[in-house]
Structure formats: structure tokens, C-alpha cells
Symmetry: C2
Subunit: 558 residues, 2 copies
């Protein structure tokens, strides 16, 4: 534990981690994982994680170091058992949360950037010891498989948090704190002493989503904190536990270092009585990070006097032109749409296929043959006894199952109907396999909206040019976080790259094997470009950190 | 001329200028001036400048290399003669301007960052040869003195333009264009080739103001251009000529380098038939830079789907607590409020003075004694035969004279009435000396708004703490670009610094002699912090450039 280290010691201790992260962000060629291999979790870690999760159910969650009203609430349930977790969290009113955050701000803004950086990296070190607890918490609230829960909410989330700390540290120390400025006047010089201070904006509100409660939450938390802002974390009422553990660990490190734990607080509400809007509209809340639906996200973006970062919905496209070999391509795509039952913001939805079919090294594959091969790949994957249930995981929200089942009523030709998929470990798991529907390119109203869940629309186009045009328009008008394209023609590759760039959608070309369009790597991939309506919360982009503070320069006659 | 140099040669030629500028931006201690001393203007330059200005009046301005409708318009007049300049500029409809800009965008976005940087620095080299033309143009549209016109629209404007090029260049080349990314998978590696491209946002609209038609315009023009955006420059209808010369020089360099001159265009309108709103609302216009009144600025900020940079109005404060010696302080402040008749966005307006007066090394100066000393300093300056008329310059807009004359009707006690001041060189010059009014701290409605022009309100407060509180609230709620403070107590200095930082207003302490709060130096002072309602167009801040492009990363299986 860090109790015996001073704040400055923590900076010295962790400086190498920060320096390496800054280097990785600018090299962009590393596959980073925090902490470095070998993973120092220890053999008992998985067992302890399971024990934590078993023990925390049906209790009042008591790890937080924040004042509360004495009232407890909690309505989470597991998509794997479809039963309540029975965990209740201390609740506070928005007014109380903001008042405490304001008070803590006075202390945190005066803590130096070095000290903040040391403390924040130390919190990641402590969170690391809770990766298995967080994995179980994530799994049984989001429906992610255990493996994905561990990766996404554990090391990958810590990676994204470290990026924010490191990039923030770099920008906050970019200009000198003090300089002597000299203006030669001929016979004499005018000298001014100048100071430059990165001043935080105030209180940050970080609003979590129900599917990635840690990965989509920690970047905003840490970007706010490194810049000297205090934070109120408002997780989705159906996915609180993983975020609560993260907040508790940060609070512990703050307290051990003599700081006010209210620098970060957890705000808890229920679906029936949401408090997010009250918090967002509070005039002391200056920064908002939001992951969730477009409607509420766009409302938040319009609030005056706030700096808002959003990850909203998008409509991700797949452009199919030509491939070396069809089978590895449909296998790759089948996995992409099935992984966590299409509940990733990076999952593809709209497949654009020319009516003339797809060129392969073995000759032309007709449109119908492609549809058939893709359908078979999906069916093969979801029914695979070792792969199916684990790939799909469980479905977080019953509405997603309903949407997927009802998708055939959208119009078009249903190629594959969604079914529930047996999970050997969890008999009551809420599951559904993908629905595949063919629609015509003219049927834009069907495919222009995000259909959250494992729903695939195959859109028959005149040719690749039309495919690109439609994918570009969709991204520009309705947002896109990813785009997959398959072509063996370098001219067409350049064309797709250029045209999708104009809609600010990143394209992954010709992925096969163990790499999928859904995956955005820390220290390497900009996640959400910020150029289309899918949002502006661009991870590992300098803009993501520098808008959280303001440079103020004071000067005086020297 | 650059006709014989290729685009790449221009980059090589100017790379040192860019590198030095990047260094200066991060050192912040230099007094920079572009071009470096000795000034290579030549002895005939002033004479040629005068000849240009004499010749261009009552003509159709024909230097622009842009298509036009054949129609010409122009309604400028000189604040020094109060007569029309008679210069008419080619006009185009917003639709035509945007269509040409869209076409030019396809070429400019594909021009490399290096090439753009070389070309843009070359345009500054060419503009340098027009500094005297630009100075006369500025003087006889804005009313600035010749000296200020030359400095602000010449070398200082080029400095601010170079900052934008250099900071843009640094950010646009911050991440590698291409990397190999390797993910170790145990028995094998996954390899992706990744590309990172800074993609411009589209068309930028730069809206000029009537008082600083070049200094407030070129930063946005060059920040847009270096990032690959095309630009439509819409100067204020009463201050076109200086901006027209700048646009013409940029167009010439573009054409000499085989590029479409429509990459930058001049849009001209009249006060009666403004086109700014039409341009701003055009869906292809993605970036807006605006200097002007708060009402229209705030409207622009609310436009959806645009990135908007504003410099609006602010209410700048002077906090008087204690001084070594009173006389140099009132002299300095008298100059600050008189310089260009208070028409600078950095000019102070509200003077907060404790009812108990001001401590000096020679004992306490009472509130009344301060008011008297300040009034005498102003009267002495404006009536000084060698200093008065030159410091005040002329008044751009007749409304400003009216506002200054009518200020005594605002309430409070009039200490000094505005008068017209004789200008020996220009008998018909539109002039007015400062108005000084005393109001009480409780009379917030009088002093909370910007009173553009040479209007000073002296506000009697309980003590310095109240002075700071009011100055902080004003800055936070109504915006502030500068703040001047006088104190000999280091504890109070720290307190003022800290409290004004929370309103994101930069404080200049204890300025006396030949340096004034109005002056913001290139490569050193952040102009407009972006943290309060005065605007978010922060010169020499990375945010000012990085919001003009979007990083898009494409990747493919290697």
C-alpha cells in the first residue's frame, strides 16, 4: 500500500510508467497492456475474485469513503441468472454530491500536476489488485463473457486510463510554469515575470453505460483528475458494481495521501428515479463525459457553459468488394457480429455487397453465395459447442433481445432468425443469436439507424462505388465508430480510405484470423474520431485532455 | 517571387522559421517580431505605401485572383477624413463562394502538410512587402494611429499567423503517418499496418471585425489553412481593404505554386445587405472564426455541426489595492484607456478602488485623491500636444462617440466628460477623449456590460476583497480578456492571481512605464483564455489548431 509514501515519492516511483506511456502514445506501434507481462495477479486472484463477488451480493456496499445520507439503493441483476444481485449502494442527493465535490476541488486544484500524476498511477496499481473482482462485477451486470469482462474492464481499461493520465501530464507540463520575458526597447529592456498555470474547469460528471461500465468510464475520470478537476461518477443503474470498486480504490489512495476522498464520488440512482439530468444541469458541473444513446447525448451536448465529451450511437458499415478467399472473411465477420451479441459500439451492422457479388482468387462469388456463406459462418459459430455461448455472452437488456427477435418485421428478407443459445454454465442466461436481414439499397430508412444488438443488414448495391457512397453518407449523417472493408484492389482500397476519411470513419481492411474490426487498441487506435455524430470523446487524442483545463497567464513587471 | 521554387523547395526554404517559431511558442520568453530585425522594408516602402493608398481609392479593387460576378461593392470610409474611400470590391454570392471553396478543398486537402507549411510561410514573406499598404488601409478604416496600424496589422499580425502555422505544423505531424503494430499472441504475432491522417474539417469562414481587421483575422485563416481547410474571409464591411490585400497576396502565392487560388477567397458585403449569416449557416462551412459583438457570437456558437472560435466582448477590470508610487500608475492607466480611444478588446473599463483609498510608500492616498490623480493623468495625456491625438487615434464607428458622450446618463457621478480632440494632421478626424464616471459597487447593472470605447467606470468598494470578488464575478459571467492589478502585498497578489484564475482572466500586476495591460505578445501571451464568456479563440494554445482537423486511423492486415 502507498500509505508510507509521500505524494512526491509516488511521482518519482511512477514517473517511468508515465514516460513510457507518453512514448507509446507517440510511437503507436506497441501492443501495450497495463501492467506489463508477466501478469502479477497471483494464483489466488481468480478464487478471491469469485469469493468477493459471492460475498458482496445481498449486502450494503461499504467500500466507499464518501459521506452519504444513510439510504441505500441498488437494482442490478445478472444477465446470466436473470436474478437481482441484491447489492445496495449509499445514495446522496445531487446537491450534496456537488457541494462535497466543490469543497474537494479547492484541495485538488492546488495539488501539483506531478503529485496528481503520481497518485493517479498509484490508483491504477491498486485497481490492478481488484481486476478479478471487477471482472465478476462486469460479467454479472453487462453479460460479457468472463474473458471479455476481465480484459475490457481490467487491463484494457487501465491502459485507457493511463493514456489519459500520460497525455494529460504531457499537455499540462507543455509550457513553462514561469519565464522571464524581455522586450528590447533600444536603450533599455522591458522585463516581465510571467507565469502560466493550467487551471482546471471545475467539477466533472462522468456518466457510464450499461455495457462497458469501466472501459468507457475511466478515461473521462482520469482525464478530468489529472487536470485538477473533481469527479462525480454516475454509472448506469444496471451496472454499478464495477465502477464502485474503481471509485473506492481511487478514494482509498486519496485518503492514504492525506487528500479528501470526495475528489471522486460515486453517484447512484435507479432507472425509475434518475438523477443524471439534475447533475448535468448543475451550474458547478463544467465537464461531462457520456456514453450512451444519441438522444440524451445530443441533449447534453447542447447544455450551455459545459465541455461535453460523448460516445453516442453509430451505424458501422462493412464494404465488401473483393477477397483472396471467402471463408476466412465470413468467419472473421461472423465473429465480429456475434462477439458479446453485437453489444459493442464497434460492432458492424450494415454489410454492403454489390449485386454482382464479390471477386475472389477462385473466381466471382455471387451475391447469393456470399449471403449463404456468411449465414453458414454465423450459424456454425453460434452453434459451436465450445465457441458459441462464450462468444455471444449474455444480453444486458431484455429490450435488446426483443429488438433482435423483432428485426425481421423491419422489412426485407430474413436470412437468419435469432434464437436463444444454450449456455452450459448458466441455464437462465439471457441470450440471442444474430438476426440477418437482406434489404435493398433504396430502403435507407431501415438501415440508417443503429439497431443495437446482434442485428445484421445485408444491403445489395449496384457496385462498390454505391456501397462506399452509402457507407460514407451513413457515417457522416448518423455516425460511425468503425468501418470494415474487404478489397484486393489497391486503387479501390485508396478510394475507400479517402472517402471514409471524409466522413471521419476509420477503416480496417481485409481483417481475417484473430483480429477483428471491433477491437480498438490502447496507445494506438483513436477510438471515436470526433468527426461524425457518433461522438467526440476521442481516446488518446490530445483534444480529449486539453479541453479539461484552461491556460491562464499572469505577468508582472520584473 | 516564389514562381521558380517548387512547393517542396518552399518547405525547405522556410523550415527554420517554422522550427524557431515552435521553439519560441514553448519557451515563451522571447519578444518575437516577424520578420527578424533589421527590418528589411527599404527606404521607399513608406512612400510606396502612401502611393498605393492614394491610388487605390475610388477604384475597383483588382488584385484578387478569384472568380466574381462582375459586380462591385464597397462602403468604407476613413475615420480620419469622415469621407468614403470609394474602393469597390468584386462580390460573389455565398452559394458561389462555397461552391468554389468546395472544389479547391479537394486540391488543398491532398497537399501535404510540409507543402502547405512552406507555401503559407511564403505568403507571410510576400505580405511583409505590403506592410505599409496594409498600414494605410488599416489606419483609414479603423481609425488606429499610423504606428499602431503598422504594428498591429503588420509584424504583430504576421507573428500571430506564424504561431498558427507553427503550432498547426507541430500538431499535424505529432503522430506518425504510418506504423507497423504488432500484437504478440504467444506462438505467433498479429501484425497490422496502420496509417494516421489528420483530415481537415472542410470550409472555414473567418469573420473579421472593424477595429483589428488583420490581427484578429489572420490567426483563423492560417490555422484553418495549415490543417488543410479552405477559407472564406468575410471582413467587416467597414474594414475590407487590409484583409483584401492579405487575401490577394495569399492567392498569388497559391497560383504561383500551381494551386487553386480559391483555397482562400474574400467575401464582401455591406452593412445593409449582410451575407455573414448565410455563409455561417451553409452546411459545407464547418469552421467559423469570429471577432465581434457577443450577441451574434453567441448565436454562431449555437450552430450545430460547426466548430466555432470566438472573440466576443468582455468587461476588463483594474483592481487597485496598493502601489509604490501613485503617479506612474495613473500615467500607465491613463494611457491604457486612451490608446486607440479604448477600442481595444484588451482595454480596461472597470476600476475597483477601496473606499479607504490606496496604500502608497508615501502613505495612504484617499479614494477621492486617486480619482483626482487619475482624472488629471487622463486630461494631461489627451491634451498633450505631442501625445494626445496620436494616442487616441480616431474612432471607427460614430456610435462609439455617441456612447462615450452619453455615458454620463448611465447614472453615477461624472468625473470627466468626453470631448473631441483636435488632430493636427486630420482636421475632420472623428475623435473623443475618455469619459470617467464614478459608480457604487451596488450599481452592478451599470458596470456589468461592456461599454465599448473610452469609457471608464470607477467603482468604490468596501475593500480589496470586494474588488476582487466583483472583478471575478464579472469575468466569469460577462467575460474578460485582461485584468490589471496593483498591489505591493505579495499575499494579496497571490490572492488576486488565484481568484482571477478561477474566472480564467489573466492578470497583469503593477505595470508602469512603457508596457500596458492592453498588449498581448505573440509567442508568449495566451490571448483570450477560453475559460470565460469573452470567447474561446485562444491564440497560441494547441486547442486553437487541433480542433480544425480530425485524426483518422486506417489499418490493414500486414
Amino acid at each position: 500500500m502507498s500509505a508510507t509514501l509521500t505524494q512526491q515519492d509516488l511521482f518519482t516511483k511512477h514517473k517511468t510508467i508515465i514516460d513510457n506511456a507518453i512514448k507509446a502514445i507517440h510511437d503507436r506501434g506497441f501492443y501495450a497492456q497495463y501492467p506489463e507481462h508477466p501478469k502479477p495477479y497471483g494464483e489466488e486472484a481468480p478464487i478471491n475474485g469469485k469469493a468477493f463477488f459471492d460475498g458482496v451480493q445481498n449486502t450494503n456496499y461499504d467500500e466507499l469513503l464518501q459521506d452519504n445520507s444513510g439510504k441505500y439503493e441498488g437494482t442490478e441483476d445478472s444477465p446470466y441468472t436473470q436474478k437481482p444481485l441484491g447489492i445496495k449502494y449509499p445514495v446522496s442527493s445531487p446537491v450534496d454530491l456537488v457541494a462535497r465535490s466543490k469543497e474537494a476541488f479547492e484541495q485538488w486544484r492546488k495539488t501539483s500536476v506531478d503529485q496528481r500524476a503520481g497518485i493517479l498511477v498509484e490508483t491504477l496499481e491498486q485497481i490492478k489488485n481488484r481486476f478479478f473482482d471487477i471482472a465478476y462485477a462486469t460479467m454479472h451486470t453487462t453479460g460479457q463473457s468472463f474473458m471479455m469482462s476481465f480484459q475490457a474492464s481490467g487491463p484494457h481499461a487501465n491502459d485507457r486510463a493511463l493514456e489519459a493520465i500520460a497525455l494529460g501530464y504531457q499537455e499540462l507540463t507543455r509550457f513553462p510554469n514561469a519565464v522571464d520575458w524581455v522586450k528590447p526597447m533600444g536603450k533599455f529592456d522591458i522585463k516581465l515575470s510571467k507565469k502560466y498555470t493550467p487551471v482546471p474547469r471545475g467539477i466533472g460528471l462522468v456518466i457510464g453505460c450499461s455495457t462497458f461500465p469501466v472501459w468507457n468510464t475511466v478515461p473521462g475520470i482520469y482525464a478530468d483528475l489529472i487536470a485538477g478537476n473533481t469527479v462525480i461518477v454516475k454509472p448506469h443503474p444496471k451496472a454499478i458494481l464495477a465502477a464502485a470498486i474503481v471509485v473506492a480504490e481511487i478514494q482509498k489512495v486519496l485518503q492514504q495521501n492525506g487528500l479528501n476522498p470526495h475528489i471522486v464520488q460515486l453517484a447512484v440512482d435507479t432507472v425509475e428515479k434518475p438523477i443524471t439530468k439534475h447533475l448535468a444541469e448543475n451550474s458547478a458541473v463544467k465537464l461531462i463525459d457520456y456514453t450512451g444513446n444519441s438522444k440524451f447525448g445530443s441533449e447534453l451536448e447542447k447544455l450551455e457553459g459545459k465541455t461535453v465529451f460523448t460516445e453516442k450511437t453509430g451505424v458501422n458499415s462493412v464494404i465488401l468488394d473483393s477477397v483472396e478467399s471467402l471463408e476466412p472473411v465470413v468467419q472473421n465477420l461472423a465473429f465480429s457480429i456475434s462477439l458479446y451479441s453485437g453489444q459493442m459500439c464497434t460492432a458492424p451492422q450494415n454489410f454492403f455487397v454489390p449485386e454482382s457479388g464479390i471477386k475472389t482468387a477462385d473466381g466471382q462469388v455471387s451475391y447469393a453465395e456470399f449471403v449463404d456463406a456468411f449465414k453458414n459462418a454465423v450459424t456454425g459459430l453460434v452453434n459451436h459447442p465450445k465457441m458459441g455461448a462464450g462468444t455471444l455472452g449474455a444480453v444486458q437488456n431484455p429490450d435488446t433481445v426483443k429488438r433482435t427477435n423483432d428485426a425481421s418485421s423491419l422489412g426485407g428478407n430474413t436470412v437468419l432468425n435469432s434464437e436463444s443459445v444454450k449456455n452450459e454454465e448458466f441455464e437462465s442466461a439471457r441470450t440471442c443469436s444474430p438476426t440477418i436481414i437482406e434489404v435493398d439499397a433504396s430502403d435507407e430508412k431501415t438501415y440508417k439507424e443503429e439497431l443495437f444488438g446482434p442485428i445484421v443488414l445485408i444491403i445489395k448495391t449496384k457496385d462498390t462505388k454505391e456501397s462506399v457512397k452509402l457507407a460514407q453518407e451513413l457515417a457522416a449523417e448518423h455516425g460511425a465508430i468503425t468501418c470494415a472493408a474487404y478489397t484486393t484492389d489497391s486503387k479501390i482500397e485508396n478510394y475507400i480510405e479517402d472517402q471514409m476519411s471524409l466522413a471521419y470513419a476509420p477503416v480496417s481492411f481485409n481483417l481475417t484470423g484473430f483480429i477483428w474490426v471491433n477491437q480498438h487498441a490502447a496507445f494506438s487506435d483513436f477510438h471515436v474520431t470526433g468527426g461524425n455524430p457518433a461522438g467526440n470523446a476521442t481516446y488518446v487524442n490530445p483534444e480529449y485532455v486539453i479541453k479539461r483545463f484552461v491556460w491562464v497567464g499572469h505577468r508582472k513587471l520584473a
